[in-house]
């Protein structure tokens, strides 16, 4: 079924056992993002140490795609520099807008390539991007905080 390209086992695993879910006490910034078309929401805490992502934790409600994507994202950016994290995000955005024409670089995106199938379902792309956009927002704000 076409659906299996959307709901890969990896995704359902992340959905059932999300990583870094539950907000940390310590944070540099907190952001709250919503998906206005479906009502899904996420709160994300980012802790920076200089230019390094020390911790990303999140909480929220959403479909399996948005929750799994957030879980994958939070694990990927952990311990990376903000710049590095943002290049991963670029790569993921490119995958999401590919309409199924690329499969994604597993070296960069790791479990994130399991979300490649989402790009064939235009209505679901924004689900997959919810957590990533929250992270981007937090990273840019956090960087300003750190500069102060």
């Amino acid at each position: 079924m076409e659906l299996d390209s959307l709901y890969q086992e990896v995704i359902l695993d992340h959905y059932k056992h999300p990583l870094h879910k539950g907000l940390s006490a310590e944070k540099t910034v907190q952001v709250h993002h919503v998906n206005p078309s479906c009502g899904d929401e996420i709160t994300l805490n980012l802790l920076l140490e200089g230019d390094v992502v020390r911790d990303v934790t999140w909480d929220g409600v959403g479909c399996s795609i948005s929750q799994a994507s957030c879980s994958i994202m939070s694990d990927l950016v952990h311990g990376k520099s903000v710049d590095h994290a943002l290049t991963i995000l670029e790569s993921f955005s490119e995958l999401m807008s590919s309409k199924g024409s690329i499969t994604g670089d597993e070296e960069i995106l790791e479990d994130g390539v399991a979300l490649a199938g989402v790009s064939k379902f235009p209505a679901r792309v924004k689900c997959a991007l919810l957590g990533w956009m929250a992270f981007k927002d937090a990273a840019l704000q956090g960087r300003n905080e750190e500069k102060k």
């Binding site: 078309s37 479906c38 959403g62 479909c63």
Partner: protein, 416 residues
């Protein structure tokens, strides 16, 4: 159970010939969002463009005459359908525009019963569509008036226990939905409108989910304004209706200004044509109005009482079928008491968006999300629901398909 002859009806709707994913037939359960269109409606629009197209009310050539007659004829059809007078029918682009028209007309009317200020109140409910909430929020912001609202009960009814506190001499506007687009609840409008009148409040009825589904006689409801959209009742997009009592329309200031809505114009000022023209600035959506009239003719040929009976039969059957599914919770009334053909539900362990995706593989079109009723979602503690809504082209097999589809969804996500 009195069901319509769905096979015959379906033959009028070309979209049902479409093959869905995996070659499945279309099971369209999203009429609450927009209805499908019969050939007769498409033909009426095409006839207008082919034979009559000209700007209405402007010019005296043959086409302008025929176009005006077709457009005004559509107004008469709508009026007769609602038990109203023709000059009480204003064509807009949608219910959303109708409601904004009211809210802006009220704030443009600086004096009299439309004028709001600090201390005045607008009474709504928690089950309103954003289209019948935000225009009033904004009106309150512009004028300093206060919003009040009826809450909803856990079983999806308006909580009227506080009505005597909520309605008072301060209440200037009551704006309520006739039937909830999420819960399916039909609200006791006549009863509330009677009380509103005692306090001198204006009553605005959002009839988006009622006029398409059961006979609605505006002269008997005791309300002052009624709004709905053509596209939810077999008609085209781009055409909506606002009905208002003559004396109110006469006293209200316009919302949109421009051509066709004037009586005289100088460089400094202008005066307005009488209603409904006063509220129809610019060249209107003519073909769409004609299409809406064709839709009404189609519905009247069936009979609105039969339409309603059909939907009650479908909904009764759906409530029974859905409630056999383990882990499924109906959000809204679980009995057919004052209830129409809109059914929302939640499935344990499966987000609506994910469930919808599986149903889509079987050609089943349902709506998921907050249904433009975000405050209501918050009230029920969910981020969204899955909603099935029925119309004249649905049959029991569609509901069986939904129930089977939900079982398949549970299996797919390994939820027992």
């Amino acid at each position: 159970m009195t069901l319509l002859d769905v096979a015959t009806i379906k033959a009028d709707f070309p979209i049902f010939e479409k093959k869905m994913r995996n070659d499945a037939r279309l099971v369209y359960l999203d009429s609450g969002a927009t209805s499908q269109k019969p050939r007769q409606v498409m033909a009426a629009e095409q006839y207008f463009y082919t034979h009559q197209n000209a700007a209405v009310h402007r010019g005296s050539h043959l086409l302008a005459e025929e176009a005006s007659a077709a457009y005004e004829g559509a107004r008469e059809t709508v009026a007769a359908f609602l038990g109203a007078k023709s000059d009480e029918i204003i064509f807009t682009k949608s219910a959303t525009e109708s409601l904004n028209l009211l809210a802006y007309s009220f704030s443009n009317s600086a004096t009299g019963r439309f004028a709001l200020g600090v201390g005045d109140e607008i009474l709504l409910s928690e089950m309103e569509h954003h289209a019948n909430l935000i225009p009033w929020q904004q009106l309150a912001k512009r004028t300093g008036a206060t919003l009040k609202w009826f809450e909803v009960t856990p079983d999806g009814r308006l909580d009227l226990s506080q009505i005597d506190q909520l309605l008072s001499a301060r209440t200037k506007i009551v704006a309520l939905t006739h039937q909830s687009n999420v819960l399916g609840t039909i609200n006791p409008i006549t009863e509330i409108a009677k009380k509103a009148k005692e306090h001198g409040a204006l009553f605005v009825l959002d009839a988006c989910q009622s006029v398409p589904h059961f006979a609605t006689d505006v002269s008997k409801l005791g309300v002052d304004f009624v709004t709905f959209s053509g596209h939810k009742m077999l008609g085209p997009t781009g055409i909506g209706v606002l009905w208002g009592r003559s004396e109110l329309l006469a006293a209200m200031e316009p919302f949109l200004f421009g051509g066709s809505m004037i009586e005289t114009v100088t460089m400094e000022s202008a005066t307005w044509a009488p209603a409904p023209r006063k509220f129809e600035a610019g060249v209107p959506n003519m073909a769409q109005a004609v299409g809406l009239a064709a839709a009404i003719n189609y519905l009247e040929a069936i009979g609105m009482d039969k339409v309603h009976e059909h939907e009650v039969a479908l909904t009764t059957y759906a409530l029974e079928g859905l409630q056999t599914i383990k882990g499924l919770t109906i959000i809204g009334p679980t009995n057919m008491d004052s209830r129409g053909g809109v059914l929302s539900f939640a499935l344990d362990g499966i987000h609506p968006h994910d469930g919808c995706q599986v149903l889509d593989q079987y050609g089943i079109a349902v709506r998921t999300g907050h249904h433009c009723a975000w405050p209501l979602m918050r009230k029920y503690g969910v981020s969204g629901t899955t909603r099935a809504s029925f119309y004249i082209y649905n049959d029991l097999a569609d509901i069986d398909a939904l129930v089977t589809g939900i079982e398949a969804t549970k299996k797919y996500f390994k939820v027992s």
